[in-house]
Assembly symmetry: C3
């Protein structure tokens, strides 16, 4: 069961250029395209004539043309041209999905179009702000989206899964976290004061001595997890809000279900330092890619032991608090949606 | 649902030599072989003793020997030898299928053997006529056979699917076609008078000026589609039947269902010019192979959106007339066969 | 339906070293590991916390640690440590399987642990006896285990399947065999007196003239088939028990069902000659590997024609006597087990 009435990240804006893109979201085949005038659109990826995937076609002005017989569809999914005949047959139409472009992300609404309010898109201002340098990426993970969200809300797996890439102060393994329920989401995080900085931060921030580190993870249903991580020279007031002697990385994780056992995983790293340093961008991308592959590897392995994203029959530990809050909130939203659909 | 009582193309005669060939037709595993005396045969590809595929065996005179324990079967499927024992156990028998070799094609009958009349094999005289040079080939297409037949009876997809390989006169996209229902089949075609010749024809026929072009497609249930295409110097009477100043290619397409979503696709090109020109054969084979791959690519892509060969829920356009005729005729034949089987 | 209450070969002792091994036995995912003190163990390959495969983890002293969050399990499957918290949650436990190491094999019991009596492990003394040199190996065969056992109990397929590798005296094809039912198994074999020795034996034993050959195959349910094959100078009393002028190879075949259509196949060759001759070991391993691949090839091919290991609808021949005895005995054991489980 998926939550349908919410905005899902469909693509990075830059990836939607002059070719249509095939995607699978919530078990449905979708074609994304951008018209000649720059407008993004999403249609069912199946021509209403002979079922050819429209993603095999080509953009023609404001329309998408099927690659099999040239039928053209506008962004609403209406067939507007059948080559070789003057009239378009009645009912020549494919499903269209609301899309909206914000924060350099193309968002898609897989549910009731009447409810697709762009104001519900999470505020990810740093993705479109010149004070930050952003390095985006995308992978496919063969896992239910809930296991990916679980993993992002879980700070304890770092010691075991990322021992090769994120080795830091040995006290990190047991540094306590605090979980907060937000009006629309869950937040978990911690401060680690006077800690040895991890190598990447030490290098990036030129820290020679201990630092005050922070890690805050915020999940907003359904697609968005934001990590605010960084460190500042120890004792310079970071916990009180003064980050002037520190560096921050805001990493944004946009997880969109493809099927019950596979997910589109878009991510990006926004930094507030070395803004024009291409070498720093490369360093961060390579470092985070290796880390993601470690996550994907274990998550895909556990998925082979599960149906969908269920935790049935498993036990919980203290470190699961944030993910359990998130799962409860998500379950309530899906249940409410089911009830309201049933009521209609 | 497959039509069972009809001749299907099983193999090109040349491909059935001294080794048995495994095949799947209509969801059944079949082994084709040719005995030492040259007689073609088809048996169920499963030994009645320990189920080993007989296609792993070897031809022994007029029999096929299993590669596991050496049991031998004659062309009727009867076990005639069990090595190491004097008597063949009762019931040692595998199913045999009627086969008949004609026009350099081995044909197989998957239905009631009593109805397997060789006179029902379509007349493909040019495949065994010294006035024609024939270049045969075979591919597997991961698609229902009906989509392949649809595609062959559809002259409008050429503009979109084959724009890289079959670019001709721009007026071709909208040149009208005429569909005819035949007593046993469907025919669609058109004349394009005073047109720029497509590059391959220009080269093959040494045409420097415009030509009168023709394209005629004839489908005979179930397995056979013949394309009669060519061109002649404009105004030399080709439409009235005088092809003496032109060149013809008869291409034969023999589609045999393997499963609901895969097909054996045999094809050949017969030409009445440059008969002994090996370079011309190479040119035609390479050109047509590229074209077939374009067809297979789009057909296999649309198959991923469909169950079997169904058009349920799709809309039709004017250009579909021939394929819709063919599908209706085929459906009637399958329905009649079902009724007659049920009546028995 | 698998027999559960019996010892299955899980691994060669040498293959179970300092890394956990993932296995599938009887449709269940199992992790094998050896603790720091050398004790072998087998657990369900799924952490009770977030379902990660424990085979991705690491051995920590006498425990196995999950690679996701570091939970540690002892050899009984009890969770003994959850990093970051002082108490282990109630119910934190994974299933453990009885294992026992004997004859350089780690055996596993997939059924009722209360019945796991090590005295029921077959006596394979030559695998741990300095008078024999043993060369072990393991492959996976995509076939039901019964077809593999059938094949081992069948001396007649050699002529057809192994004509490239085991060519011997032409009279071998029809040399009669004798099948015996044992209290716990089946034995089939034959003597071939005054025969040309096969090339490998001729070379290994330096035989210049004819030999008396023997082949005896003994199946012990469920996992074990032992072949006692060899030859001695003709007329020196081998049939009466005097092998002093001959050489013997005892080959041991340990077949463990993974699923209904795939099996773990462990094998080893024990010889009583050229004990320290590495070249002889290499020769035997290479020769037998080629032979096994021929067996696997035909068995996997016939499996594609069958569901599970069933012989339903097939006919039997005289040469099947031993395998039919074995199948009957096995079926009776499985039926008895089902009844006793149902009675509980």
């Amino acid at each position: 069961m998926f939550l349908r009435n919410c905005w899902y990240a469909a693509a990075w804006s830059n990836d939607l250029a002059d070719a249509p893109l095939p995607r699978i979201f919530l078990d449905e085949k979708v074609v994304l395209f951008r018209t000649a005038s720059g407008r993004p659109a999403a249609l069912a990826d199946q021509c209403c004539h002979r079922a050819a995937p429209l993603s095999r076609g080509a953009i023609q002005g404001e329309n998408l043309a099927c690659g099999y017989h040239g039928l053209q569809f506008d962004t609403s999914g209406r067939c507007v041209l059948v080559p070789g005949q003057t009239q378009v047959p009645p009912g020549a139409q494919v499903r269209s999905y609301p899309v909206h472009e914000r924060w350099n992300v193309v968002w898609i609404w897989m549910g009731n179009p009447a409810l697709a309010d762009p104001d519900k898109i999470p505020a990810l201002t740093w993705l479109a702000d010149s004070k930050w340098t952003v390095t985006p990426g995308m992978i496919q993970v063969h896992s239910n989206y809930e296991f990916i969200v679980d993993n992002l809300l879980d700070l304890t797996h770092v010691t075991y899964v990322h021992k090769k890439t994120l080795a830091g102060d040995p006290r990190e393994a047991t540094a306590p976290t605090r979980t907060e329920r937000l009006p629309n989401g869950v937040r978990v995080g911690r401060w680690m004061l006077d800690f040895v900085p991890p190598p990447l931060f030490a290098k990036a921030g030129n820290f020679k001595e201990n630092v005050d580190r922070w890690q805050f993870v915020t999940w907003t249903p359904l697609s968005t997890v934001v990590l605010d991580v960084g460190c500042a020279k120890a004792g310079t007031g970071a916990p009180e809000g003064d980050r002037s002697q520190g560096i921050s990385i805001w990493s944004t994780h946009l997880v969109t279900p493809q099927t019950q056992t596979s997910s589109q995983y878009m991510f990006s790293y926004a930094r507030d330092f070395a803004l024009d340093d291409a070498e720093m961008s490369r360093l961060l991308l390579e470092g985070t890619h290796a880390t993601f592959m470690e996550d994907a590897d274990i998550i895909e392995a556990l998925q082979t032991n599960r149906e969908g994203g269920s935790l049935d029959g498993l036990i919980d530990i203290t470190a699961d608090a944030a993910q359990l809050q998130a799962r409860r909130m998500l379950k309530r939203m899906i249940d409410e949606e089911s009830r309201s659909v049933a009521a209609e």
